[in-house]
Symmetry: C2
Amino acid sequence: MPTTKTLRTGSAQKRDAILDAARRLFIGDGFDRTSVDAVAAGAGVSKRTVYDYFGDKVTLLAAVVESAGKTLVATIDRTLTETLGGVTEAERLEDALVAFAEQIATQTLGSAEYATLLRLAHGLISLEGEILADEPEEAVAQRLAELADAGLLTAPDPRLAADHLIALTFSVVGNRYHSDVTPEKARPLLVAGVQAFLRAYRREA
Amino acid sequence: MPTTKTLRTGSAQKRDAILDAARRLFIGDGFDRTSVDAVAAGAGVSKRTVYDYFGDKVTLLAAVVESAGKTLVATIDRTLTETLGGVTEAERLEDALVAFAEQIATQTLGSAEYATLLRLAHGLISLEGEILADEPEEAVAQRLAELADAGLLTAPDPRLAADHLIALTFSVVGNRYHSDVTPEKARPLLVAGVQAFLRAYRREA
DNA sequence: ACTACACTACACCGTGCAGTGTAGTTTCTG
DNA sequence: CAGAAACTACACTGCACGGTGTAGTGTAGT
């Protein structure tokens, strides 16, 4: 049995299309309510191809989670640099954090979608990419540690601070508007969350 | 006649047993992966009785959510009174909030289970008990408003403060330990969350 | 042109499960 | 005791879906 098919030009595109459709449908309709036929149709591909690529439905879910995780971490890293890169003054910190939160909260593959995926996978996937499931938090933690070193924050436990920032922004938005998040509704909540975070973690003068 | 059977209302014990088994199984295995046969078996009742009581599976889920919501709100109200009832000094506020959070976070039908139920119901239930889905938050908000009136907190928007307290405690715990929460693991996180909350919302001297 | 392979279309199987119908048994009540 | 209501046991239908097998088509490389 040939385990790995020799990839053809354009094969990676089909794989991505399947992953994309699966992510969209899994998040929108749930894992069990999404049929593999629907995924195939959504990807413009035959069902057989889906099975040829991923073997079974659970493996497909695992691939979706892994792919989404990598994408999200990359996005977070990039966005952190864009928004918090050159911030050295306390005055600009709030705006920068709000900008970061707004990006990640309202992105197509943002914190909400990833959280949903992790919940779908929970219990079905025998923790392979699970160890890196909290990479997003770690990325934020590292950046907060740098801000603390720069004297802008007091964060003895950066990972905890990251969890708190995430909770005050993404979790609050997620709890209020369970799936249908719009930038307009999210923004005031994000601003308030960042302000509360800064009240708790700002470096005292 | 294909008329609708008038749903039976007697024997509240059996009804509760069904609700209980359904909640346990829905939360543990998910809605789609839980068969009505399993619910009936778990409740020690015939499948037919389940259908006589609740009509169909989605209606059963709705009943579970409504029942759990009422129970949770009652528990929250009681626990809030027990822990925060006579608190008028800032020194005792932290311990009281931690005690409250610990109760609700580790209870059998606590914040985590209710959040899971709301997610299961989301999209399946045409918002009947949905309007009261944020009653828990409102209950906390009301109590925080009282604490603000007593001069212990600064909370211009009590509902927002409640969302932040909930996020800093229950959401953080839920994000880290997705389903398997033990009091031992939760406690330090809850203490840290309450402390962060107080840093953000304490009345400045 | 030949071969190898990615891919599709489609039929097909097995199964698990929602929901129903019903006959028979227990239990409550007048 | 009589009769109704609650409940069980069980058989049964219909369907959706996961997964497979296969014959055939398009396409790339030699």
